[in-house]
């Protein structure tokens, strides 16, 4: 039995409605408890801001695509090099660091849980292996279903129960966590040299539209009783005028679940552009946010762009090809058999560039114009908008109008004619930031009942203590303080152990992989479905029996078993 007592913690815990209350937190055996004995180890927080461990609900840090980003950008590995020290491995890389680099840097910022944004089911093993080597964060994997042949066939046949059964079989086979749709239908169309231009554009051969895929998958998701909703990267990413497509997509979403959202729309910044070309691109964040404000069934994350060097990587193959034609830099595209694809391109977001400046502005506008912070989660779609180490700067931008104006003064001078940012006076509070980085992601992912994202009794003792006193610091006037404090915790505590102390990781760590296993009735089990097996053997390069990820790939894990209505 190990016990820990954190004294004088100034706690913000949005899921338990605690905002700035100075209190003690008792921990026994990795869980938060009512009280501990006198022999407990004591940490005196001294009135510092204390929050549940951060949760990144959309980031790309593990898997084949991330690794290819490392592989094709040796120059990225020249940045961020640190030597081996104590329990810490040597690290390198800036936008696509080594797994340990990622883990240590997240931990130094107080993050204890992360969701890998896109895992191709066929390449799940690699993702799980990298999870094992990201030791200080509990991990989950969004599983890609955007161009899955048997599912598109089932949707074409109007058999959504079958589509749900295939999703359920795949999720438990690859130890995935949720349904991810990346440019649904678009990557498959790109396999035919095309893309889908709107959600009503049919995918070649399968003759289903993105709208049909999205609607069917939302329904399938609820049939399987999955903890998270459908996680959608809308069609037409990064195209001027794509806000229409985004709004039409939002209109498709029913209110299908009263516990959480029915659709999680990711990196909406990349989907909120007006205009018709790169010359007249402008922000349409106001219309997007109006839609979000009127639809509680939708939760978004920002996908904030920050200036500097980074690497874009997504399963959206055609989009990356378009980017390649724009930048004419090195580029890679992959096709993943009958599932999905991917593309990777290094980019530099410049404040001298009007389009980049508008992108920077739109991300902030989304967070500021969404009335309910529970509906807008802080993210950069790491590393697509910026590496996650920029989060503290984003928090400061959201909390301080003055700091925002200061940075706004350095971007392209024409930006102000194309975006509403300068007219927005809202400044987010400490509580808003806690919601956007803890409460909201936990709730959106459906893991708050597992004890994530809050500090109530029975919760996992994942705690971040930041070196800042919120009663003495006015975030509106002291942006540097905010950036410094959120950049490095005094203590990051994971499962009741101090894992990171002022940026130095104290333990080797061992994380948990969270995955789902929907129980499906025999009638719908794909294990005994002759047509599924026949097509599997016909089209895949692997045998169906070799496809599921073996238990040894996931060490410590937590399986969420759900009862599917099938």
């Amino acid at each position: 039995m190990t016990e820990l007592l954190i004294r004088n913690a100034c706690v913000i815990d949005p899921l338990n409605d605690i905002c700035g209350e100075v209190m003690d937190i008792a921990v026994r055996d990795g869980k938060i408890v009512e009280s501990v004995g006198s022999g407990a180890e004591v940490i005196d927080a001294g009135g510092s801001l204390t929050m549940p461990g951060g949760i990144d609900s959309h980031t790309h840090i593990c898997g084949t695509k991330v690794n290819f980003g490392r592989y094709m950008s040796p120059e990225d590995m020249r940045a961020g090099r640190t030597a081996r020290r104590g329990h810490m491995h040597s690290t390198s890389g800036y936008s696509v660091p080594t797994t340990y680099g990622t883990s240590y840097r997240y931990s130094a910022m107080g993050y204890t849980t992360a969701l890998e944004g896109a895992m191709a089911p066929l390449e799940a093993r690699h993702t799980h292996e990298e999870f094992t080597h990201t030791p200080l964060q509990d991990m989950m994997a969004n599983t890609l279903f955007d161009g899955n042949w048997p599912i598109m066939q089932a949707i074409h046949d109007g058999d959504i129960r079958r589509a749900a059964a295939i999703v359920g079989w795949t999720l438990s086979a690859v130890k995935g966590f949720a349904i991810k749709l990346t440019n649904p239908g678009g990557t498959e169309a790109w396999g035919w040299g095309k893309d889908v231009a709107s959600i009503r554009d049919p995918v070649p051969h399968f003759e289903v539209t993105p709208a049909e895929i999205i609607r069917a998958m939302i329904e399938a998701n609820e049939m399987l009783n999955l903890p998270h909703s459908v996680h959608l990267h809308c069609n037409c990413l990064g195209k001027p005028g794509n806000h229409q497509c985004t709004l039409e997509t939002f209109d498709l979403v029913p209110n299908a679940n009263n516990k959480r959202q029915s659709l999680y729309a990711t990196h909406v910044q990349f989907h909120s552009y007006g205009g018709s070309s790169w010359r007249d691109i402008c922000s349409r964040s106001e219309e997007i946010c109006r839609a979000i404000n009127s639809k509680p069934q939708i939760v978004i994350d920002m996908g904030q762009v920050m200036f500097g060097k980074t690497t874009t990587m997504t399963a959206d193959g055609p989009m990356e090809f378009n980017l390649y034609r724009l930048y004419h830099n090195k580029w890679s595209n992959h096709d993943v058999e009958l599932e999905t694809g991917s593309g990777i391109i290094p980019v530099y977001y410049s404040r001298k560039n009007l389009v980049n400046s508008i992108m920077w502005s739109i991300g902030l506008e989304l967070a500021l114009l969404t009335d309910n912070p529970w509906q807008c989660i802080l993210s950069t779609d790491n590393p697509n908008g910026a590496p996650f180490v920029k989060y503290p700067e984003i928090m400061a931008l959201l909390m301080s109008k003055r700091y925002r104006n200061e940075i706004f003064g350095t971007v392209h001078p024409d930006t102000e004619h194309n975006v509403p940012l300068a007219a927005i006076d809202r400044e987010l509070t400490w509580n808003d930031i806690a919601i956007m980085t803890r409460g909201a992601p936990a709730k959106a992912l459906g893991i708050e009942d597992l004890g994530k994202g809050h500090l109530g009794e029975g919760a996992d003792a994942d705690i971040a203590i930041y070196p800042i006193n919120i009663n003495e610091t006015d975030p509106a006037t002291s942006a540097e303080e905010v950036i410094r404090a959120f950049g490095q915790t005094d203590y990051t505590i994971k499962r009741g152990r101090v894992v990171c102390r002022q940026g130095t990781c104290m333990v080797d760590g061992k994380n948990t992989t969270i995955w789902v296993d929907p129980h499906i009735s025999e009638n719908y089990s794909m294990d005994h479905d002759p047509e599924f097996a026949k097509n599997f053997d016909r089209y895949y390069t692997v045998r169906m029996s070799n496809y599921p990820v073996q238990e040894e790939y996931i060490r410590r894990n937590l399986c969420i078993e759900t009862e599917a209505q099938l």
């Binding site: 094709m72 950008s73 040796p74 120059e75 990225d76 020249r78 004419h328 830099n329």
Partner: protein, 256 residues
């Protein structure tokens, strides 16, 4: 100030030594504890070299380092050098003059790979031959050498002046394969032969006074022009990369 570093005879002379501390500025600013690395072992400079320092210096430019003995496995000499002079009497190991911004390095023997990598300014003269990636960029980096001069009196290896983005590179002998590949700016002169010169070049200027073998077909032939009274063929390209580079070639052969 004259610093003489004589490499002591070593039991295993092929083991490379990383000696990025050997730059005029370290000696100008004074050093008691300069170290070098052999593998993961940090050693005092004196364990590898006999060190003799004579005279004083008012500025870094008055510092001259002379390296004697078998220095063919001493790496990263002159890294980030910003003034003064280094004279190497024998051969030198890899990465000599990395990121150098001013001053001069003279090598009497041969240089190993990556001579003057990502150099910003100053001058390197190599009287022997240079290895691969002479005056080049580093893996994955888009812009390599950005300024200064590299002159090699012998031959140079493959990928000479790769991603050249400024400054000038002169090879008096032959250059290996893919010289000037991905060149962006600056000037490359090869007195001898090379092959597949300037593939994927987007800008800058290159002269080959010998023969280019396996000439890249995606260069547009502009016509015959005289250079110093001799007939040369002028090319523009690489059009595969929307390039606007210029290539003057004495003789060339396309791949059969």
């Amino acid at each position: 100030m004259k610093v003489t570093l004589e490499v002591k005879p070593r039991q295993k002379p092929y083991l490379p030594i990383e000696a990025e501390g050997i730059v005029p500025r370290t000696f100008f600013e004074g050093t008691d504890s300069l170290t070098v690395f052999r593998g993961n072992k940090e050693l005092p400079l004196e364990e590898i070299f006999n060190v003799a320092i004579e005279g004083e210096a008012e500025s870094v430019d008055e510092v001259e380092i002379i390296i004697l003995g078998d220095s063919s496995r001493i790496k990263r000499v002159g890294e980030y050098m910003d003034g003064g002079r280094i004279h190497i009497t024998g051969d030198i190991g890899m990465h000599c003059g990395n990121f150098m911004s001013a001053g001069e390095i003279v090598i009497d023997g041969n240089a190993d790979a990556w001579l003057g990598r990502e150099m910003r300014g100053g001058r390197i003269r190599c009287h022997g031959s240079a290895g691969d990636y002479c005056a080049a960029g580093y893996r994955g980096e888009k812009r390599g050498m950005r300024g200064g001069t590299v002159e090699v009196f012998g031959d140079a290896g493959d990928f000479t002046a790769e991603t050249l983005a400024g400054g000038s590179v002169i090879i008096h002998g032959n250059a290996g394969d893919l010289s000037g590949v991905d060149m962006k700016e600056g000037e490359l002169t090869i007195m001898g032969d090379t092959s597949r010169a300037c593939a994927n070049m987007s800008g800058g200027m290159a002269y080959v006074h010998g023969t280019v073998n396996d000439m890249i077909p995606t260069f547009r032939k502009i016509g015959q022009e005289k250079v110093n009274g001799e007939p040369y063929t002028r090319f523009s390209g690489d059009i595969a990369n929307r390039g606007k580079g210029t290539l003057f070639i004495r003789n060339y052969k396309y791949l059969d």
